[in-house]
Amino acid sequence: MVIAVASGKGGTGKTTIAVNLALTLERDMPVQLLDCDVEEPNAHLFLHPLLDVSEKVALPVPVIDQSKCNGCGRCSEICAFNAIIAIGTHVMVFPELCHGCGGCSRFCPVSAISEEPREIGVVESGRAGQIEFVQGRVNVGNPLAPPVVRAVKSKIDARQVKVVIIDAPPGTSCPVVASLKDSDFCVLVTEPTPFGLNDLVLAIDVVKELDIPFGVVINRSGLGNKDLLTYCRREKVPVLLEIPFDRRYAACYARGGRLVEEFPELKEAFWGLWRRIRALATTGQTEFRGPS
Protein backbone atom coordinates (compact mmCIF):
# COMPACT_ATOMS: atom_id res chain seq x y z
CA MET A 1 0.00 0.00 0.00
CA VAL A 2 1.34 3.43 -0.96
CA ILE A 3 0.44 6.22 1.46
CA ALA A 4 1.31 9.78 0.51
CA VAL A 5 1.59 12.43 3.22
CA ALA A 6 0.94 15.89 1.83
CA SER A 7 -0.25 19.37 2.80
CA GLY A 8 -1.22 22.44 0.87
CA LYS A 9 0.56 24.66 3.36
CA GLY A 10 4.20 24.13 4.24
CA GLY A 11 5.37 23.66 7.80
CA THR A 12 2.24 21.94 9.09
CA GLY A 13 4.14 18.83 10.16
CA LYS A 14 3.98 16.63 7.07
CA THR A 15 7.47 15.25 7.58
CA THR A 16 6.75 14.64 11.27
CA ILE A 17 3.70 12.55 10.38
CA ALA A 18 5.48 10.58 7.64
CA VAL A 19 8.54 9.85 9.78
CA ASN A 20 6.64 8.91 12.92
CA LEU A 21 4.20 6.70 11.05
CA ALA A 22 7.17 4.84 9.56
CA LEU A 23 8.79 4.54 13.01
CA THR A 24 5.55 3.20 14.46
CA LEU A 25 5.20 0.47 11.86
CA GLU A 26 8.83 -0.53 11.25
CA ARG A 27 9.04 -3.32 13.83
CA ASP A 28 5.85 -4.98 12.70
CA MET A 29 6.04 -4.84 8.94
CA PRO A 30 8.46 -3.94 6.16
CA VAL A 31 8.26 -0.19 5.55
CA GLN A 32 9.74 2.04 2.90
CA LEU A 33 9.93 5.81 3.32
CA LEU A 34 10.37 8.00 0.24
CA ASP A 35 11.22 11.67 0.73
CA CYS A 36 9.78 13.26 -2.42
CA ASP A 37 10.18 16.83 -1.14
CA VAL A 38 13.22 17.05 -3.39
CA GLU A 39 13.57 20.83 -3.05
CA GLU A 40 13.89 20.67 0.73
CA PRO A 41 14.23 17.05 1.87
CA ASN A 42 14.02 16.90 5.68
CA ALA A 43 13.05 13.36 6.70
CA HIS A 44 16.74 12.36 6.96
CA LEU A 45 17.21 14.91 9.76
CA PHE A 46 14.95 12.78 11.96
CA LEU A 47 15.93 9.31 10.75
CA HIS A 48 19.69 9.65 10.17
CA PRO A 49 19.72 6.93 7.51
CA LEU A 50 22.87 5.29 6.29
CA LEU A 51 22.77 6.27 2.63
CA ASP A 52 25.00 3.88 0.77
CA VAL A 53 23.65 4.21 -2.76
CA SER A 54 23.64 7.46 -4.70
CA GLU A 55 22.44 7.75 -8.28
CA LYS A 56 22.42 10.83 -10.45
CA VAL A 57 19.20 11.97 -12.10
CA ALA A 58 19.78 13.41 -15.54
CA LEU A 59 17.68 14.86 -18.34
CA PRO A 60 18.72 14.44 -21.96
CA VAL A 61 19.55 17.87 -23.38
CA PRO A 62 20.42 18.63 -27.01
CA VAL A 63 23.94 19.07 -28.33
CA ILE A 64 24.35 20.62 -31.76
CA ASP A 65 26.81 19.51 -34.37
CA GLN A 66 27.34 22.95 -35.94
CA SER A 67 29.07 21.41 -38.94
CA LYS A 68 25.88 19.60 -39.95
CA CYS A 69 23.36 22.33 -39.12
CA ASN A 70 21.82 24.05 -42.15
CA GLY A 71 20.14 26.81 -40.19
CA CYS A 72 16.58 25.76 -41.03
CA GLY A 73 15.25 26.81 -37.61
CA ARG A 74 13.02 23.75 -37.24
CA CYS A 75 14.38 23.02 -33.77
CA SER A 76 13.32 26.41 -32.37
CA GLU A 77 9.88 26.02 -33.95
CA ILE A 78 9.44 22.63 -32.33
CA CYS A 79 10.60 23.52 -28.84
CA ALA A 80 7.63 24.44 -26.65
CA PHE A 81 9.87 25.80 -23.90
CA ASN A 82 12.11 28.27 -25.76
CA ALA A 83 15.09 26.17 -24.76
CA ILE A 84 16.70 26.13 -28.19
CA ILE A 85 17.10 29.11 -30.48
CA ALA A 86 18.53 29.08 -33.99
CA ILE A 87 19.97 32.27 -35.42
CA GLY A 88 21.12 31.19 -38.83
CA THR A 89 23.42 28.24 -38.36
CA HIS A 90 24.22 29.38 -34.86
CA VAL A 91 22.04 27.30 -32.54
CA MET A 92 21.94 28.08 -28.83
CA VAL A 93 20.65 25.74 -26.15
CA PHE A 94 19.44 26.92 -22.73
CA PRO A 95 19.77 23.75 -20.68
CA GLU A 96 17.91 25.05 -17.59
CA LEU A 97 14.79 25.57 -19.72
CA CYS A 98 14.98 22.20 -21.48
CA HIS A 99 12.46 19.56 -20.40
CA GLY A 100 14.26 16.80 -22.28
CA CYS A 101 11.28 16.06 -24.51
CA GLY A 102 13.47 15.00 -27.44
CA GLY A 103 11.52 17.05 -29.97
CA CYS A 104 14.40 19.02 -31.45
CA SER A 105 16.63 16.03 -32.08
CA ARG A 106 13.76 13.99 -33.43
CA PHE A 107 12.75 16.56 -36.02
CA CYS A 108 16.06 18.08 -37.08
CA PRO A 109 16.05 17.26 -40.80
CA VAL A 110 19.82 16.72 -41.02
CA SER A 111 20.34 14.92 -37.69
CA ALA A 112 22.57 17.68 -36.39
CA ILE A 113 21.25 17.24 -32.85
CA SER A 114 22.27 14.53 -30.44
CA GLU A 115 21.59 14.38 -26.72
CA GLU A 116 23.71 14.27 -23.64
CA PRO A 117 22.62 13.79 -20.04
CA ARG A 118 22.51 16.87 -17.81
CA GLU A 119 22.52 16.20 -14.11
CA ILE A 120 19.57 17.82 -12.32
CA GLY A 121 19.59 15.98 -9.03
CA VAL A 122 20.37 12.83 -7.15
CA VAL A 123 18.51 9.91 -5.58
CA GLU A 124 20.04 8.42 -2.44
CA SER A 125 18.96 5.26 -0.71
CA GLY A 126 19.83 3.18 2.30
CA ARG A 127 18.40 2.12 5.64
CA ALA A 128 17.35 3.77 8.85
CA GLY A 129 16.82 1.00 11.40
CA GLN A 130 14.28 -1.32 9.81
CA ILE A 131 13.08 1.37 7.42
CA GLU A 132 14.12 1.30 3.79
CA PHE A 133 14.87 4.93 3.06
CA VAL A 134 14.99 6.79 -0.28
CA GLN A 135 15.32 10.52 -0.86
CA GLY A 136 15.75 12.81 -3.81
CA ARG A 137 17.54 16.14 -3.97
CA VAL A 138 17.23 18.53 -6.86
CA ASN A 139 20.40 20.50 -7.61
CA VAL A 140 20.24 24.09 -6.43
CA GLY A 141 19.33 26.40 -9.32
CA ASN A 142 17.54 23.72 -11.30
CA PRO A 143 13.85 24.50 -11.68
CA LEU A 144 12.59 21.05 -12.64
CA ALA A 145 11.63 18.96 -9.62
CA PRO A 146 9.18 16.42 -11.13
CA PRO A 147 11.78 14.27 -12.93
CA VAL A 148 13.65 13.87 -9.62
CA VAL A 149 10.40 12.97 -7.87
CA ARG A 150 9.70 10.34 -10.52
CA ALA A 151 13.20 8.93 -10.08
CA VAL A 152 12.62 8.59 -6.33
CA LYS A 153 9.30 6.86 -6.95
CA SER A 154 10.90 4.40 -9.36
CA LYS A 155 12.47 2.91 -6.20
CA ILE A 156 9.09 1.83 -4.82
CA ASP A 157 9.43 -1.81 -4.00
CA ALA A 158 5.81 -2.90 -3.83
CA ARG A 159 6.62 -6.60 -3.85
CA GLN A 160 9.00 -6.68 -0.90
CA VAL A 161 7.49 -3.94 1.18
CA LYS A 162 4.08 -3.82 2.73
CA VAL A 163 3.79 -0.11 3.31
CA VAL A 164 5.33 2.68 1.28
CA ILE A 165 5.14 6.13 2.86
CA ILE A 166 5.73 9.16 0.65
CA ASP A 167 6.69 12.52 2.14
CA ALA A 168 5.37 14.90 -0.53
CA PRO A 169 6.38 18.53 -1.12
CA PRO A 170 4.04 21.33 0.03
CA GLY A 171 1.69 23.10 -2.39
CA THR A 172 -0.60 21.93 -5.16
CA SER A 173 1.41 22.15 -8.38
CA CYS A 174 3.39 19.74 -10.53
CA PRO A 175 5.94 18.34 -8.01
CA VAL A 176 3.03 17.56 -5.66
CA VAL A 177 1.06 15.85 -8.41
CA ALA A 178 4.11 13.81 -9.41
CA SER A 179 4.50 12.70 -5.77
CA LEU A 180 0.87 11.78 -5.14
CA LYS A 181 0.07 10.10 -8.44
CA ASP A 182 -0.85 6.41 -8.13
CA SER A 183 -0.92 6.43 -4.32
CA ASP A 184 -3.55 4.31 -2.59
CA PHE A 185 -4.24 6.85 0.11
CA CYS A 186 -3.33 10.42 0.93
CA VAL A 187 -2.93 11.87 4.42
CA LEU A 188 -3.36 15.66 4.36
CA VAL A 189 -1.69 17.40 7.28
CA THR A 190 -2.98 20.78 8.35
CA GLU A 191 -3.29 23.12 11.32
CA PRO A 192 -6.33 24.94 12.74
CA THR A 193 -5.52 28.43 11.40
CA PRO A 194 -7.09 30.32 8.49
CA PHE A 195 -3.95 29.56 6.43
CA GLY A 196 -4.16 25.88 7.27
CA LEU A 197 -7.84 25.69 6.29
CA ASN A 198 -7.40 27.69 3.07
CA ASP A 199 -4.54 25.48 1.91
CA LEU A 200 -6.27 22.27 2.98
CA VAL A 201 -9.22 23.09 0.74
CA LEU A 202 -6.79 23.51 -2.20
CA ALA A 203 -5.02 20.24 -1.39
CA ILE A 204 -8.34 18.40 -1.22
CA ASP A 205 -9.11 19.64 -4.75
CA VAL A 206 -5.86 18.04 -5.91
CA VAL A 207 -6.44 14.62 -4.31
CA LYS A 208 -9.99 14.61 -5.64
CA GLU A 209 -8.71 15.43 -9.13
CA LEU A 210 -6.29 12.50 -8.80
CA ASP A 211 -9.06 10.32 -7.39
CA ILE A 212 -7.14 9.26 -4.28
CA PRO A 213 -9.01 8.48 -1.04
CA PHE A 214 -7.85 10.78 1.74
CA GLY A 215 -8.14 11.88 5.33
CA VAL A 216 -6.87 14.76 7.43
CA VAL A 217 -4.44 15.00 10.33
CA ILE A 218 -4.81 18.15 12.41
CA ASN A 219 -1.52 19.17 13.94
CA ARG A 220 -1.14 21.69 16.79
CA SER A 221 -4.84 21.44 17.54
CA GLY A 222 -5.95 23.82 20.25
CA LEU A 223 -4.11 26.76 18.67
CA GLY A 224 -6.03 28.98 16.25
CA ASN A 225 -9.78 28.53 15.85
CA LYS A 226 -12.59 26.04 15.26
CA ASP A 227 -13.26 26.75 11.57
CA LEU A 228 -11.17 23.80 10.40
CA LEU A 229 -13.14 21.23 12.42
CA THR A 230 -16.41 22.80 11.34
CA TYR A 231 -15.30 22.51 7.73
CA CYS A 232 -14.28 18.84 8.09
CA ARG A 233 -17.57 17.99 9.73
CA ARG A 234 -19.64 19.83 7.14
CA GLU A 235 -17.77 18.36 4.16
CA LYS A 236 -17.58 14.90 5.79
CA VAL A 237 -13.80 14.91 5.53
CA PRO A 238 -12.44 12.15 7.78
CA VAL A 239 -10.24 13.47 10.59
CA LEU A 240 -7.72 10.68 11.15
CA LEU A 241 -5.81 12.16 14.04
CA GLU A 242 -5.49 15.34 16.09
CA ILE A 243 -2.17 16.14 17.71
CA PRO A 244 -2.56 18.84 20.37
CA PHE A 245 -0.17 21.79 20.48
CA ASP A 246 2.36 21.05 23.16
CA ARG A 247 5.63 22.90 23.68
CA ARG A 248 7.33 19.58 24.49
CA TYR A 249 6.36 18.19 21.09
CA ALA A 250 7.56 21.40 19.41
CA ALA A 251 10.90 21.18 21.24
CA CYS A 252 11.31 17.52 20.27
CA TYR A 253 10.69 18.42 16.61
CA ALA A 254 13.06 21.40 16.79
CA ARG A 255 16.04 19.30 17.75
CA GLY A 256 15.20 16.53 15.28
CA GLY A 257 13.75 14.11 17.84
CA ARG A 258 11.27 11.30 17.31
CA LEU A 259 7.84 11.90 18.82
CA VAL A 260 6.70 8.28 19.02
CA GLU A 261 9.86 7.26 20.90
CA GLU A 262 9.70 10.08 23.43
CA PHE A 263 5.95 10.19 24.04
CA PRO A 264 4.16 6.85 24.52
CA GLU A 265 0.74 8.51 24.13
CA LEU A 266 1.72 9.50 20.60
CA LYS A 267 2.83 5.99 19.70
CA GLU A 268 -0.71 4.84 20.53
CA ALA A 269 -2.11 7.71 18.48
CA PHE A 270 -0.02 6.74 15.45
CA TRP A 271 -1.24 3.15 15.65
CA GLY A 272 -4.75 4.57 15.58
CA LEU A 273 -3.81 6.63 12.54
CA TRP A 274 -2.51 3.53 10.77
CA ARG A 275 -5.70 1.57 11.50
CA ARG A 276 -7.88 4.35 10.13
CA ILE A 277 -5.76 4.71 7.01
CA ARG A 278 -5.92 0.98 6.39
CA ALA A 279 -9.68 0.90 6.86
CA LEU A 280 -10.27 3.82 4.51
CA ALA A 281 -7.74 2.74 1.88
CA THR A 282 -9.02 -0.80 1.60
CA THR A 283 -12.67 0.19 1.31
CA GLY A 284 -11.70 2.97 -1.10
CA GLN A 285 -14.27 5.01 0.70
CA THR A 286 -13.75 8.74 0.86
CA GLU A 287 -16.37 9.64 3.43
CA PHE A 288 -16.08 8.77 7.03
CA ARG A 289 -17.28 10.25 10.29
CA GLY A 290 -13.91 10.65 11.90
CA PRO A 291 -12.66 9.24 15.17
CA SER A 292 -15.15 9.64 17.98
Partner: protein, 300 residues
Amino acid sequence: MRELLVISGKGGTGKTSLVGGFAVLAENKILTDCDVDAADLHLLLKPTVRETREFYGSKKAVLDHERCTGCGVCVQACRFGAINMGKGRGNTKVQIDPISCEGCAVCSHACPWGAIAMKDNLSGYWFISDTPYGPLVHARLGVAEENSGKLVTRVRREARSIAEDQGLDYIITDGPPGIGCPVISSISGVDLALIVTEPTVAGTHDMERILELARHFDTKTMVCINKYDLDEGKAEEIERYCRDEGIQVAGKIPFDEEVVNALARGLPAVAPADNGFNQREGKASKAIRELWMKVSSYLK
Protein backbone atom coordinates in the same frame (compact mmCIF):
# COMPACT_ATOMS: atom_id res chain seq x y z
CA MET B 1 11.51 51.53 -6.65
CA ARG B 2 12.94 48.64 -4.63
CA GLU B 3 11.86 45.02 -4.55
CA LEU B 4 11.85 42.99 -1.35
CA LEU B 5 11.21 39.26 -1.44
CA VAL B 6 10.31 37.46 1.78
CA ILE B 7 11.13 33.82 1.43
CA SER B 8 11.87 30.78 3.59
CA GLY B 9 12.74 27.55 1.80
CA LYS B 10 10.84 25.60 4.39
CA GLY B 11 7.13 26.34 4.59
CA GLY B 12 5.38 27.41 7.76
CA THR B 13 8.14 29.57 9.23
CA GLY B 14 5.84 32.56 9.36
CA LYS B 15 6.78 34.48 6.23
CA THR B 16 3.21 35.44 5.36
CA SER B 17 2.67 36.79 8.88
CA LEU B 18 5.80 38.94 8.46
CA VAL B 19 4.66 40.24 5.09
CA GLY B 20 1.32 41.06 6.74
CA GLY B 21 3.26 43.09 9.32
CA PHE B 22 5.26 44.88 6.61
CA ALA B 23 1.99 45.65 4.82
CA VAL B 24 0.98 47.69 7.85
CA LEU B 25 4.38 49.31 8.43
CA ALA B 26 5.66 50.18 4.94
CA GLU B 27 4.43 53.24 3.17
CA ASN B 28 3.90 53.80 -0.52
CA LYS B 29 4.18 50.18 -1.62
CA ILE B 30 2.53 47.43 -3.60
CA LEU B 31 2.20 43.90 -2.24
CA THR B 32 2.44 40.71 -4.24
CA ASP B 33 1.79 37.11 -3.36
CA CYS B 34 4.03 34.85 -5.40
CA ASP B 35 3.09 31.69 -3.50
CA VAL B 36 0.73 31.02 -6.37
CA ASP B 37 -0.19 27.45 -5.55
CA ALA B 38 -1.10 28.04 -1.91
CA ALA B 39 -1.62 31.78 -1.63
CA ASP B 40 -2.48 32.97 1.88
CA LEU B 41 -1.66 36.67 2.03
CA HIS B 42 -5.21 37.62 0.98
CA LEU B 43 -6.50 36.07 4.21
CA LEU B 44 -4.73 38.81 6.16
CA LEU B 45 -5.12 41.72 3.76
CA LYS B 46 -8.81 41.28 2.87
CA PRO B 47 -8.51 42.44 -0.74
CA THR B 48 -11.31 43.76 -2.90
CA VAL B 49 -10.60 42.29 -6.30
CA ARG B 50 -10.55 45.01 -8.95
CA GLU B 51 -9.49 42.96 -11.98
CA THR B 52 -9.40 39.24 -12.69
CA ARG B 53 -7.31 37.92 -15.57
CA GLU B 54 -7.05 34.45 -17.01
CA PHE B 55 -3.68 32.75 -17.10
CA TYR B 56 -2.92 30.36 -19.94
CA GLY B 57 0.34 28.87 -18.74
CA SER B 58 0.64 25.81 -20.89
CA LYS B 59 -0.78 23.81 -23.72
CA LYS B 60 -2.11 20.29 -23.55
CA ALA B 61 -2.31 17.63 -26.23
CA VAL B 62 -5.88 16.88 -27.31
CA LEU B 63 -6.71 13.86 -29.44
CA ASP B 64 -9.12 13.88 -32.38
CA HIS B 65 -10.51 10.35 -32.27
CA GLU B 66 -11.99 10.71 -35.77
CA ARG B 67 -8.57 11.06 -37.35
CA CYS B 68 -6.58 8.72 -35.13
CA THR B 69 -5.77 5.33 -36.65
CA GLY B 70 -4.29 3.89 -33.49
CA CYS B 71 -0.84 3.49 -35.08
CA GLY B 72 0.92 4.14 -31.78
CA VAL B 73 3.61 6.55 -33.04
CA CYS B 74 2.61 9.10 -30.39
CA VAL B 75 2.88 6.58 -27.57
CA GLN B 76 6.52 5.98 -28.48
CA ALA B 77 7.20 9.68 -29.01
CA CYS B 78 5.94 10.91 -25.64
CA ARG B 79 8.73 10.83 -23.08
CA PHE B 80 6.42 11.66 -20.19
CA GLY B 81 4.28 8.56 -20.33
CA ALA B 82 1.20 10.67 -20.93
CA ILE B 83 -0.17 8.64 -23.85
CA ASN B 84 -1.40 5.13 -23.34
CA MET B 85 -2.92 2.43 -25.42
CA GLY B 86 -6.08 1.52 -23.58
CA LYS B 87 -8.15 -1.58 -24.02
CA GLY B 88 -10.33 -0.51 -26.97
CA ARG B 89 -9.72 -1.19 -30.67
CA GLY B 90 -8.49 1.07 -33.49
CA ASN B 91 -8.93 4.75 -32.77
CA THR B 92 -10.70 4.20 -29.48
CA LYS B 93 -7.75 2.81 -27.62
CA VAL B 94 -5.47 5.86 -27.48
CA GLN B 95 -5.73 7.96 -24.34
CA ILE B 96 -3.90 11.12 -23.33
CA ASP B 97 -3.65 11.84 -19.63
CA PRO B 98 -3.85 15.63 -19.28
CA ILE B 99 -2.24 15.54 -15.83
CA SER B 100 0.94 13.84 -17.11
CA CYS B 101 1.12 15.88 -20.32
CA GLU B 102 3.95 18.44 -20.21
CA GLY B 103 2.78 20.23 -23.33
CA CYS B 104 5.93 19.59 -25.35
CA ALA B 105 3.92 19.02 -28.58
CA VAL B 106 6.20 16.24 -29.79
CA CYS B 107 3.23 13.87 -30.24
CA SER B 108 1.38 16.43 -32.26
CA HIS B 109 4.34 16.90 -34.63
CA ALA B 110 4.96 13.18 -34.79
CA CYS B 111 1.44 11.96 -35.54
CA PRO B 112 1.34 10.97 -39.22
CA TRP B 113 -2.42 11.63 -39.37
CA GLY B 114 -2.56 15.04 -37.75
CA ALA B 115 -4.80 13.68 -35.03
CA ILE B 116 -3.31 15.58 -32.10
CA ALA B 117 -3.79 19.32 -31.58
CA MET B 118 -2.25 21.47 -28.88
CA LYS B 119 -4.88 23.45 -26.99
CA ASP B 120 -4.30 26.39 -24.67
CA ASN B 121 -4.95 25.36 -21.15
CA LEU B 122 -6.49 27.70 -18.58
CA SER B 123 -4.02 27.16 -15.75
CA GLY B 124 -5.21 29.75 -13.29
CA TYR B 125 -6.15 33.35 -12.60
CA TRP B 126 -4.38 36.42 -11.37
CA PHE B 127 -5.89 39.41 -9.69
CA ILE B 128 -5.26 43.08 -9.09
CA SER B 129 -6.85 44.09 -5.82
CA ASP B 130 -7.18 46.95 -3.38
CA THR B 131 -6.47 46.39 0.29
CA PRO B 132 -6.57 48.76 3.25
CA TYR B 133 -2.75 48.70 3.01
CA GLY B 134 -2.35 49.43 -0.69
CA PRO B 135 -2.64 47.51 -3.96
CA LEU B 136 -2.07 43.74 -4.07
CA VAL B 137 -1.31 41.54 -7.05
CA HIS B 138 -2.01 37.88 -6.38
CA ALA B 139 -2.86 34.71 -8.22
CA ARG B 140 -4.48 31.35 -8.04
CA LEU B 141 -2.95 28.44 -9.91
CA GLY B 142 -5.50 25.86 -11.01
CA VAL B 143 -5.68 22.43 -9.41
CA ALA B 144 -2.74 20.19 -10.32
CA GLU B 145 -1.40 22.71 -12.84
CA GLU B 146 2.15 23.36 -13.90
CA ASN B 147 4.13 26.40 -14.86
CA SER B 148 3.78 28.21 -11.61
CA GLY B 149 7.05 29.99 -12.50
CA LYS B 150 5.42 31.65 -15.47
CA LEU B 151 2.50 32.80 -13.33
CA VAL B 152 4.94 34.27 -10.81
CA THR B 153 6.65 36.17 -13.63
CA ARG B 154 3.27 37.51 -14.75
CA VAL B 155 2.37 38.66 -11.23
CA ARG B 156 5.72 40.38 -10.80
CA ARG B 157 5.55 42.12 -14.17
CA GLU B 158 2.12 43.52 -13.33
CA ALA B 159 3.26 44.67 -9.88
CA ARG B 160 6.25 46.43 -11.38
CA SER B 161 4.17 48.27 -13.94
CA ILE B 162 1.69 49.42 -11.28
CA ALA B 163 4.57 50.51 -9.04
CA GLU B 164 6.08 52.53 -11.89
CA ASP B 165 2.76 54.12 -12.89
CA GLN B 166 1.96 55.17 -9.35
CA GLY B 167 5.54 56.05 -8.38
CA LEU B 168 5.60 53.60 -5.47
CA ASP B 169 8.74 53.05 -3.40
CA TYR B 170 8.51 49.33 -2.60
CA ILE B 171 7.32 46.05 -3.99
CA ILE B 172 6.96 43.61 -1.10
CA THR B 173 6.54 40.00 -2.10
CA ASP B 174 5.45 36.93 -0.19
CA GLY B 175 7.47 34.18 -1.85
CA PRO B 176 6.77 30.50 -2.45
CA PRO B 177 8.36 27.66 -0.43
CA GLY B 178 11.08 25.40 -1.80
CA ILE B 179 13.87 26.20 -4.24
CA GLY B 180 12.19 25.16 -7.50
CA CYS B 181 10.72 26.94 -10.48
CA PRO B 182 8.37 29.45 -8.78
CA VAL B 183 11.15 30.42 -6.34
CA ILE B 184 13.65 30.94 -9.14
CA SER B 185 11.10 33.14 -10.92
CA SER B 186 10.51 35.09 -7.70
CA ILE B 187 14.13 35.77 -6.81
CA SER B 188 15.61 36.96 -10.08
CA GLY B 189 16.36 40.66 -9.97
CA VAL B 190 15.05 41.52 -6.48
CA ASP B 191 16.98 44.05 -4.40
CA LEU B 192 16.84 42.00 -1.22
CA ALA B 193 15.70 38.52 -0.25
CA LEU B 194 14.75 38.34 3.43
CA ILE B 195 14.99 34.73 4.50
CA VAL B 196 12.69 33.73 7.34
CA THR B 197 13.84 30.72 9.28
CA GLU B 198 13.00 29.04 12.57
CA PRO B 199 15.25 27.39 15.18
CA THR B 200 14.63 23.77 14.19
CA VAL B 201 16.86 21.25 12.42
CA ALA B 202 14.62 21.47 9.36
CA GLY B 203 14.53 25.27 9.42
CA THR B 204 18.33 25.49 9.50
CA HIS B 205 18.77 22.88 6.78
CA ASP B 206 16.32 24.61 4.44
CA MET B 207 17.79 28.04 5.12
CA GLU B 208 21.17 26.78 3.93
CA ARG B 209 19.59 25.52 0.68
CA ILE B 210 17.79 28.79 -0.01
CA LEU B 211 20.94 30.80 0.76
CA GLU B 212 22.79 28.67 -1.75
CA LEU B 213 20.11 29.44 -4.31
CA ALA B 214 20.34 33.16 -3.58
CA ARG B 215 24.12 33.01 -4.06
CA HIS B 216 23.59 31.19 -7.34
CA PHE B 217 21.51 34.14 -8.54
CA ASP B 218 23.76 36.73 -6.89
CA THR B 219 20.96 38.08 -4.70
CA LYS B 220 21.60 40.13 -1.56
CA THR B 221 20.17 38.34 1.49
CA MET B 222 19.34 38.98 5.13
CA VAL B 223 18.04 36.46 7.63
CA CYS B 224 15.25 36.72 10.18
CA ILE B 225 14.86 34.08 12.90
CA ASN B 226 11.19 33.65 13.74
CA LYS B 227 10.04 32.12 17.04
CA TYR B 228 13.70 32.22 18.08
CA ASP B 229 12.91 31.60 21.75
CA LEU B 230 11.42 28.16 21.04
CA ASP B 231 15.03 26.93 21.00
CA GLU B 232 17.57 29.62 21.85
CA GLY B 233 20.49 27.24 21.40
CA LYS B 234 19.48 26.51 17.82
CA ALA B 235 18.85 30.22 17.25
CA GLU B 236 22.43 30.95 18.32
CA GLU B 237 23.67 28.27 15.95
CA ILE B 238 21.86 30.03 13.12
CA GLU B 239 23.38 33.36 14.12
CA ARG B 240 26.84 31.85 14.20
CA TYR B 241 26.32 30.28 10.80
CA CYS B 242 25.19 33.62 9.36
CA ARG B 243 28.12 35.45 10.90
CA ASP B 244 30.53 32.97 9.32
CA GLU B 245 28.84 33.39 5.96
CA GLY B 246 28.78 37.17 6.25
CA ILE B 247 24.99 37.40 6.25
CA GLN B 248 23.24 39.91 8.46
CA VAL B 249 20.63 38.61 10.90
CA ALA B 250 18.21 41.50 10.60
CA GLY B 251 15.77 40.37 13.24
CA LYS B 252 14.81 37.83 15.87
CA ILE B 253 11.13 37.48 16.56
CA PRO B 254 9.86 35.80 19.74
CA PHE B 255 7.06 33.24 19.77
CA ASP B 256 3.96 35.16 20.71
CA GLU B 257 0.50 33.62 20.85
CA GLU B 258 -0.78 37.06 19.84
CA VAL B 259 0.47 36.31 16.29
CA VAL B 260 -1.61 33.13 16.12
CA ASN B 261 -4.59 34.92 17.67
CA ALA B 262 -4.37 37.80 15.21
CA LEU B 263 -4.13 35.26 12.41
CA ALA B 264 -7.16 33.41 13.71
CA ARG B 265 -9.05 36.70 13.53
CA GLY B 266 -7.66 37.28 10.03
CA LEU B 267 -5.57 40.31 10.96
CA PRO B 268 -1.89 41.21 10.48
CA ALA B 269 0.27 40.70 13.56
CA VAL B 270 1.12 44.40 13.70
CA ALA B 271 -1.66 46.83 14.51
CA PRO B 272 -2.01 49.99 12.42
CA ALA B 273 -0.62 53.14 14.03
CA ASP B 274 -4.03 54.69 14.74
CA ASN B 275 -5.01 51.82 17.02
CA GLY B 276 -3.01 53.05 19.97
CA PHE B 277 -0.52 50.24 19.46
CA ASN B 278 2.28 51.81 21.45
CA GLN B 279 0.55 51.27 24.77
CA ARG B 280 -0.05 47.53 24.52
CA GLU B 281 1.98 46.29 21.63
CA GLY B 282 2.95 42.58 21.80
CA LYS B 283 6.59 41.49 21.79
CA ALA B 284 6.41 39.91 18.32
CA SER B 285 4.82 43.01 16.86
CA LYS B 286 7.60 45.15 18.33
CA ALA B 287 10.25 42.87 16.85
CA ILE B 288 8.63 43.02 13.42
CA ARG B 289 8.65 46.81 13.63
CA GLU B 290 12.38 46.81 14.38
CA LEU B 291 12.98 44.34 11.59
CA TRP B 292 11.19 46.57 9.12
CA MET B 293 13.35 49.54 10.16
CA LYS B 294 16.50 47.57 9.38
CA VAL B 295 15.19 46.18 6.12
CA SER B 296 13.83 49.51 4.90
CA SER B 297 16.98 51.39 5.78
CA TYR B 298 18.97 48.89 3.72
CA LEU B 299 16.56 49.34 0.81
CA LYS B 300 16.81 53.14 0.87
